[in-house]
Amino acid sequence: MHIPDGFIDVQTSAIFAGLAAAGVATALKGARTQLDEKTAPLAGLTAVFIFAVQMLNFPVVAGTSGHLLGGALAAVLVGPWAATLALTVVLLMQGFLFADGGLTALGLNVFNMGVLGVWAGYGTFLLLRKVLPKNKSSISLAAAIGGLLSVPAAAIGFTIQYAMGATATFSTSAVLSAMVGTHVLIGIGEALITGLTVSAVLASRSDLVYGWKNNVQKLEIRSAN
């Protein structure tokens, strides 16, 4: 999912660099009010964990692999603002240290994975949290489905960028169907990793999980007796 230099022309890359910068600036503002000394370390650990798991490409279909994006996971664990920042740190490390994701494509990648992926995943999570029973399994399930949808959402982000400024001339609809088809499959892996990780953190430190604690205060008091 890391776009290399060259796929998308410079003008389109610049537009998305601007959009990504605006997204990161908004996230900085939001995270400043939302994070505190107690939750900041989890935001750091979330970035670290996502970096590590993004190295673990898993096979999806013959000759194709995918890896965690982590936007939904981060948003459920530490909130959408800190999630965008965590993903941005990961993408900066990958782009500058590991030559993964082009430097002129950094804005494209931050936009797709750090903004679109985060908000598609988090929006889905919020909707599902509303309708599902208020317990920890629902939180993990909602996070997993948020993860599932966040991957094709990021893939659609790429397709939009391709339509706006591809250096190649193949049809956008072909790119769209191929991107979405492949990334729905990758999304299944994303869902599994997201669901398992959220349930592991909920089992050990539910008091830190953003997507749980700001919804179930009442329930927590009742259950603690």
Binding site: M1, H2, I3, P4, D5, G6, L28, A31, R32, L35, D36, E37, T39, A40, A43, G44, L45, A47, V48, F49, F51, A52, V53, M55, L56, N57, P59, G63, T64, S65, G66, H67, L85, A86, V89, M93, Q94, F96, L97, F98, A99, D100, G102, L103, S137, A155, A166, A168, F170, V175, M179, T182, I186, S199, L202, A203, S204, S206, D207, S223
Partner: protein, 115 residues
Amino acid sequence: MAGKIMFRNWRFEVLTNRKFYIAGFIVSLFLAGVVSFYASSDPDGLERVAEDIGFLETAKDHTNADGTLADYGVKGIDNERASVGVAGVIGVIGTAVVAGVGFKLIARKPKKDGN
């Protein structure tokens, strides 16, 4: 379910802050340092699509393609397992430093009573 038992020990869990973060960091080190060697080296979704549709050759070499850590390997370490493992460990520590310091600064609240 295990969750139920853990939930009863909630008070105890809150005390184990340090343990939780150490465990999370060690898991990340293990994944990036050891498990990464077993990751699939097939092209990822985007690369596959680019190849199938035909625009893969529009990709340019990365600016840092010859960098010390390019493509998650350490230049000069020939053993592939060690090379990707060390690169992963460096990435985990580097991300921890940047994100750790960054989020700590973001979370710092100016105290109301001026200190």
